[in-house]
Each structure stands twice: as structure tokens, then as C-alpha cells.
Symmetry: C2
Subunit: 423 residues, 2 copies
């Protein structure tokens, strides 16, 4: 068995039926028939009123690197479902699609394309699952992060979720999207390395427990940590821990250094943060920060703030990176139009008794009308010509598989996501 | 930016504070002090009464391959938090820990160690986050899968979750754990290749929409799909779709082939499955299967079965792979004992006002007492000697980083997970 995250190829990041359909299109001469697919989502997550688009850069990177390696083809051949000619076609395949999409960090509307794929039917089909996986999850977490950051007001939000994230990449992708959505830093070192996200963190209870006494543990930390003198105070008794931090802080000050702050990780955070703030202020450490962590999300942060908690920094983990109250985005990828044998475009629509499961056909573009207070999106079929005013939301990203222009950086996407709200 | 899943090294799969603490232990001469950590979880997920352990094999593979590569060290150096001597120590590090653990597929109890690490404090500390990530998520999903499979009774459960999974590995790891927990197959081709899991799937709505008429789409599928003549019937009108499938099925039968079945993906699955079954039976297709999919989980499957739905196979996606009603396992990793300067073991316990957040100190083992009806687990400190009767649940896995014996295969773990319940 090999570790998923060490795999050199992700061409097989697909549901089997994508490849079965691809084989069918190939056999019926439809592989190169030009098609248009739209990626939409059905409703704002978390019962909220906005969604922050994310995942485009990883999706583009995946598309551009997509190759069926000999080991992939050998595996597919072993399934006994695919003939040689089709497998040879896959062996030569590289993605030559046109992609138009909303930039990462943009707020987007339900049932409105956020990404459009145009090109050979076979290619547009086999990328369905991977594309949805990458865009659905990052969009979900960027949106969750934006909600948490909004709830925290002026207090920075640090993402601490890796240990209970949904798999290795459930953590990595979440750290990227959480930063994009407005978090200030992550505890995840690999995400820091891969994405250039600021990393932060202090100590665990095990550090405090590794020393005979809490005070010795804090001192030992201060001897090593230089500026990062932020002490975890709830291993034994929280307020005693704060008093211990104050004693160590006084000695630091005598040595020309400063106490960064304390972290509370359990208990009644309203009462404890107020008492902690008072202890720190009375001891002359008005600049020392109070960091809180432990089962936080936007609702709990809002409740704590409304209840008078005195917290400067928020460490948010599990509930952010798993989007625990609504852990999936309802993204779908539907065929919108297909050329017929004569080269004429035919719109394609899925019918359903459930209005949520209908899809709109055509070659769709989104016209955004902004005013001071927000925006309104109108979906139109490009074949009918553009409506008056506004601007098109889907921007050219790939043409025949090649980048039209460099994508915005993660920092640029984050800036877009965190600019003053219009909704 | 590079794709996480293409990374060659996962040594940085850690919260920053693990490395900060490691640097501190190193500086204070504690790096090689012998320590014991226990991985426990606080409560059964999903409000249930059992938990299926999973994730050990991926965790062991990660531990054995853990190396700090030059690029990792360059990144850490660039953070300006770590000195040269410590980074050199990491450069030479390979994991030489003892690990004892519950085999994958075993049912386990809250607040009872399921994995124990013993060895140098620095090594045991830096693996905390990665170990929790791998074990928490796989255990969560194996447990969810076992619940879904139990609800489905004699009907096989197919895992279809990749498109809305939490990242690439949120999908891959979930497919592995879902199979371990009792699912019959996955749609995830990469998981099939990596883990040897059976793969399954038919067609999407886009296939049906790519042809001028549904009947032509089914025929075209049958021309390509050999045995896999299972038609998705809800693109336009579900019962019309079933009638179309019957017509195509009759022609298949004339050609000496058989209709595999139909898939329902929307609408009132109770009414539709009953009418579908009747249409199939009346047409002489009593062997054709009815497959259902769409927002299923153990509760919905139980409701459908109790309401008289006639469904043979269950395609379960998002709610399984995201464990949507409880999307994280409450696993923690706590220091249990540490040798002092004189080589004496000292138990270490975290105190907390919250009884859930207390940890038990010692060098812990679990004694399991089984009878015909179930089991009872008793935690004991190995230094106090073993209790009478029963058997030890934590088995030797690694000694100084080397496997004591090959781990059970995924199939063996699945067999263990799906044997008749004792709880």
C-alpha cells in the first residue's frame, strides 16, 4: 500500500463512471464532439447569505498536470472494462480545454455558473469528479473562514485544524482555503511551506507536563522561544497558570523582554478571559494577548464576544476545517450544450421534479451588476448576446489547456475575499 | 504552488508547536528522555454505541517514511525560529519509536488507549498531529460505514463520495475507510488502484443528455458496457426511464444478454422504487436490480426500508465520506509517563475542570474481557502488572521503528470490522 499523498499521478482522481462514459463516447465517435459544462452550486452553505469561490488555482494545476501514466493504464486494463484502443487514447491525452471561471475570493451566487468548461466531450467529462472535489471543498472552507473572521471582528483568527481534518489533504486544502477566506495564519507547517501561509503556534499540554512544575515549563519555554512567549495556562488550574505566567513575565521584563500572552483552551471562556485580562492588567501586562481555543466557530465566537469575553486572538480548528455544521458544498457539474453532427450547438438541460436538481442549458455567462450596497447576478446564454451594463463574471483562464494569464496569487485571492463586503 | 498530493515528504505534516516543543526539548536535553503517549478518543461518534478503529496502516507507513528533506529544513530555517543545531538533528532523524495499537477493524472504547507510543520524547512529540489526522479520520469513516452497512441489511453499499469529499485525500482516505467498515465497492478509481478496492459505477446524466433521446443513450451504453447494463433513469421522467430501460432490456435479452438494473437518483424513492420494481417484474426482469442514490445515510436508508422501498443496492456518497452529522472524531494524544533524570518513570496527567479533558497517566494497556454478548475494556498501568483473565488489546506494531510483523491487509481489517457484532 502506498500513501495517497505520495502519488505522482492524479489522472485517476475520478469516479469510475467518468471513464466508462469516456470509453462510450470514444466508441461512438463522440470523444471530440465539442461540449460545454457548467459548475454551479445549489445553495449557500451554513444557511448563510454568501459563498466565497475558491479552489481554482489547485484545479487548474491539476488539469494542466493530468496524464495517464503507464501504471494507471495497467490498472485500468486490469479492470477488464476498457479496450486497448481507448486506453491508447488515454495514454496520449493531455487536457486541451477552455476554462472560464470566477476568480478565487469572489463572492458568488447559487445556481449560477462559477466555472465553465468547453472542449472535447471526453476531456470535459473525465475531469468532472476531480474538479468538483477541488472546487467544492475549497469554496466551502473559504466561506466558513470568512464567516468566522467576520464574527471575530478585530481579533485575528488562527487556523489550528489539522489534527481532526478529513485526511492529509483535508487539512492542507483547508489551511489554504481558510487563509484565502481571511484567517491570519495556520498551525499546519506543511501548508505553510506549500502555500506560503504564515504559521503560528505555541505549546501543547505535553510541554507543561514534561516539566516537574508549570513555572519551570514556562521558563524553559521562554529560554528557547525568543519573541514567542505565549504560555498555555490551563494544564492544571487556569488562573493559577495566569499568575505563573505573570511571574515569569516579570522576570522576562527584568531581562528586557516581554510576555506575549496566554492561551486558554478549556473552561468558561467568558469568565476566565475576563479574570485573565484583569490579572494581566493589574500586573502591568496590558499589552499581553489573551488567546482562546477549543471548539470555536462563528457562533461560539459571537456568543463569547456578546457575553463580554476579553479575547484578542482566536484559535479555530475542527469546526472550521471540517465545516462541521454543513460539511459539503452542493456543487454540481452539468452538460449545458453539445454540438450536433452538423456542428450546430444544442442546449442540454436536466429535467427534474425537484427544482433544485434542474439544470439550465446553453453556453452560459454571468453578468454582474454592482452598486454601493451589493450585487445582482444575471445568467445569460452567450449565443443570445450580452445584456446591457454590468460586467462578465467568468473570466478566461485556460484556452486549449494553456493559461491565458498567470492566476492571481493566494494573497491576491485573500485580498479579494476580505475586501469590504458587498452582498 | 504545487499540489499537496504530489509532495514527496510529509515530515512537515505537523502543527508548528510540535516542532517548537521539539526544539525546546532538544535545547533542554530532553529530546531523548523516554516518554509514553496515548491516543484515545473521548466519545463514540454519531451518538452511537460503537467505534471501529482504522488508520493504523497509513499511520505506520507515514512514520516509517518520515524524513526531513533538505527543502523542509530550508523552509524551517527560513521561519527564523529554529537554530542550526536543532535543524541538523532533524536532518538525521528517522523514527525509532515503539508503537502498540489495536488492529484496524477492531471495535474500541472511549477514553481507552487505541494506540500507544513509547520512545524519545522529541520523536513521540513531533508525530502527534499527523498521527491524529490519519487515525481520527479513518476511524470516523470506518465507523460511519459500519453504521450505513448495518442499516442496509442485505443490500450492498457502494461508496460514491469523491466529488464532495473534503479534499483529494478526504476522498481517498474515506474510500479506504469506508471499504474497511464494510462497503462493497467505491466509485473512486484512484482508491481502487491504490488500495485494491473493487470499483463500480454506471453513467451520469450527462451521458443520457449527450444523445438526442434517452432510449438511444441506453442502447449506446449497452453497445459499450458489456455486463454493466445498468441505466440511470431519472434524467427526464423516472418511470418513463424505467419503461425505456425495459424496452432496451427486451432487445438485450433477444441478443442473449440481460438487463443489470436501473438507478434512481432523485424523487420519492419509496414510491418510485416500488413502481420500478413492479414495472421490472411485470416485464419479466425480476433479476434486474434497483439501485438508489442521492443524499443517503444510515437514517435515510432505515427510513426507506421501513417505508417499504424496494431497493437492492445503495449508492452512498457525501454523507458517508464527510460523516456529515458528526464530521470529526474526538481523538487526542496525551503524555502518559516520562522518565525523570534518574531514569524513574513518572506518570503524567492533565487536570481539568472538564472531566472529558482529563487524561490518565501511566504506561497504559487495555485488557479486554469478551463474552458471547459483547466485551468490556479495562485500562491498567503495565507497571502494576496485568489483571486476571481476558486479553491485551494493544498489540506490538513497531519496535524502534521496525515492524514487529506485517500488518493485516485491508481485506483482513474489513473482515474483522464486519464479523458478527459484539458490543
Amino acid at each position: 500500500m502506498s500513501t495517497p499523498s505520495l502519488q505522482p499521478s492524479l489522472a485517476l482522481l475520478a469516479d469510475l463512471y467518468e471513464l466508462s462514459m469516456a470509453a462510450g463516447y470514444f466508441r461512438h465517435g463522440l470523444a471530440d464532439r465539442e461540449a460545454v459544462f457548467h459548475l454551479t452550486f445549489r445553495r449557500h452553505p451554513f444557511g448563510g447569505d454568501f459563498t466565497v469561490a475558491a479552489g481554482l488555482a489547485p484545479a487548474v494545476e491539476w488539469l494542466q498536470s493530468l496524464r495517464f501514466l503507464p501504471e494507471d493504464l495497467a490498472y485500468l486494463e486490469g479492470l477488464g472494462r476498457f479496450d486497448r484502443e481507448f486506453l491508447d487514447h488515454l495514454a496520449d491525452l493531455s487536457i486541451r480545454l477552455d476554462v472560464d471561471a470566477v476568480p478565487e475570493g469572489e463572492r458568488v451566487s447559487p445556481n449560477t455558473p462559477i466555472l465553465r468548461v468547453r472542449g472535447p466531450l471526453l476531456q470535459a467529462q473525465i475531469i468532472e469528479t476531480g474538479l468538483l472535489n477541488l472546487v467544492n471543498f475549497q469554496t466551502l472552507i473559504a466561506t466558513k473562514a470568512a464567516r468566522v473572521v467576520e464574527a471575530a471582528g478585530d481579533g485575528a483568527v488562527l487556523e489550528f485544524g489539522l489534527r481532526r481534518a478529513q485526511g492529509v489533504d483535508g487539512g492542507l486544502a483547508a489551511s489554504r482555503a481558510a487563509y484565502l477566506g481571511g484567517c491570519a495564519a495556520t498551525s499546519n507547517v506543511l501548508a505553510g511551506k506549500l502555500y506560503g501561509i504564515p504559521v503560528s503556534g505555541t505549546m501543547a499540554h505535553s510541554w507543561v507536563m514534561a516539566f516537574p512544575e508549570e513555572e519551570r515549563a514556562f521558563e524553559a519555554w521562554a529560554e528557547v522561544a525568543e519573541q514567542n512567549t505565549l504560555f498555555l495556562v490551563d494544564t492544571y488550574d487556569t488562573l493559577e497558570g495566569v499568575r505563573t505566567a505573570v511571574r515569569v513575565g516579570r522576570r522576562l521584563r527584568e531581562a528586557g523582554r516581554e510576555l506575549s500572552g496566554v492561551r486558554l483552551d478549556s473552561g468558561d471562556l467568558v469568565a476566565l478571559s475576563r479574570e485573565t485580562r484583569q490579572l494581566l492588567d493589574e500586573a502591568g501586562f496590558a499589552e499581553a494577548k489573551v488567546v482562546a481555543s477549543g471548539d470555536l466557530d462563528e457562533y461560539e465566537i459571537a456568543r463569547l464576544r456578546a457575553s463580554g469575553a476579553r479575547i484578542d486572538l482566536w484559535g479555530v480548528g475542527t469546526r472550521l476545517v471540517t465545516a462541521s455544521d454543513d460539511p459539503s458544498l452542493s456543487g454540481v457539474y452539468k452538460l449545458g450544450a453539445l454540438r450536433d453532427e452538423d456542428g450546430e450547438w444544442k442546449a442540454r438541460e436536466k429535467v427534474s421534479d425537484d427544482p433544485e436538481k434542474k439544470s439550465q442549458g446553453g453556453i452560459l455567462q454571468v453578468r454582474r451588476y454592482e452598486d454601493g450596497d451589493g450585487f445582482r447576478d444575471q445568467v445569460y446564454d452567450e449565443r443570445d448576446g450580452a445584456p446591457e451594463g454590468g460586467r462578465d463574471l467568468l473570466e478566461p483562464v485556460l484556452r486549449r489547456g494553456e493559461l491565458v494569464a498567470p492566476l492571481p496569487t493566494l494573497e491576491q485571492a485573500r485580498t479579494r475575499a476580505t475586501r469590504p463586503t458587498k452582498s
